[in-house]
Subunit: 200 residues, 2 copies
């Protein structure tokens, strides 16, 4: 395939992934780049580093700063933002749905809505109720989609994908892969998209 | 004092602090902002978080990425860059000199030259020889300056400054303080300077 493309690897619990998820489609369209959405789970990756939660939680001052920075960055981008009352939120079910339907035309909209639930509407995302709401909003058969996402094949596919991401050098999210070139963090989204254009 | 100003907190061993040190004077001048150079030691701060080195060293993949990112960012800024053969380098003596002479007109040039030793010329910086070279380059009385930097008062002043930074919310470097507003990371340098302008 010769269309320039970028892999966007994310965890629905990651607030900086939220900023990229809300921005990537418009920025990619401007550049004629196709986005490949790659849900993953940061939990196993952080546990491999010896941590029990987000790296931001290793330093209380860093976590406090993170919330300030997220509010500032959201304002800069003109994006709505709510400091979530729970962090990090479990993201297992939405990650399984995003894995099961990663090639569907609605995947980007689905992901943006899940991130907005977490970081704009401050609600839990790892629940059947929450996912039914998002899928219904998109006019999709929610029960069928959720059942598919909970099959052993999809559960394994998500585990495999996370392991593959780690093998390819990912250590956090959001991460962008342009071929084998890794770009990490919402601050590098534009650089990664520019690299995707240059690749053609 | 009403001139807009910014505090630039750094460790001479920090590669992202190097990027800011090489950029801050020109960017601040454009905006009419005065830079207050604040050398600190990240070692005690990272030890308080339970780490023995840089947070990047907690994940080998993250450390590998950091070097790629630094080369890319340096190229983007048009700055020379050499992957240092030792990391992180001890920065005690230059930090003491920068503490002793923090209000001198040559402090910015001194700091930029020390960072260049580490990240362009790939040489050790925590040595009397290296510091004599930098101070001589600036036409300064090197031996007197180094002797002053090694007095008990200055050693304590650097410890106190690092502790004060931590009390004010610093957890890494580079960090920028505009009043009590903290901005962390070379990626936030421009935002911090803009905030300094808005503050007047």
């Amino acid at each position: 395939m010769n269309t320039p493309h970028i892999e966007f690897w994310f965890d629905f619990g990651s607030p900086y992934s939220h900023l990229s998820a809300q921005r990537i489609d418009a920025l990619a369209r401007e550049r004629g780049v196709r986005v490949i959405w790659r849900a993953m789970l940061l939990g196993p990756i952080f546990r491999n580093a010896g941590w029990s939660g987000s790296p931001f939680q290793q330093q209380p001052a860093k976590l406090a700063y993170m919330w300030t920075d997220l509010a500032r960055q959201s304002a800069k981008y003109g994006l709505p933002w709510t400091h979530p009352s729970a962090f990090p939120r479990s993201s297992l079910l939405p990650a399984r749905i995003a894995t099961a339907f990663c090639d569907e035309s609605w995947i980007g909209q689905f992901c943006a809505k899940v991130f907005a639930l977490n970081f704009v509407h401050d609600t839990e995302i790892d629940s059947v109720d929450a996912m039914q709401g998002v899928l219904h909003d998109l006019g999709l058969p929610a029960d069928t989609a959720i059942a598919r996402a909970q099959t052993p094949e999809i559960k394994q596919a998500l585990r495999d994908r996370t392991a593959l991401g780690e093998q390819r050098g990912l250590f956090g999210a959001p991460s962008f892969l342009v071929g084998d070139a890794l770009f990490w963090g919402n601050d590098r989204l534009e650089d990664a998209l520019d690299a995707a254009c240059d690749q053609t």
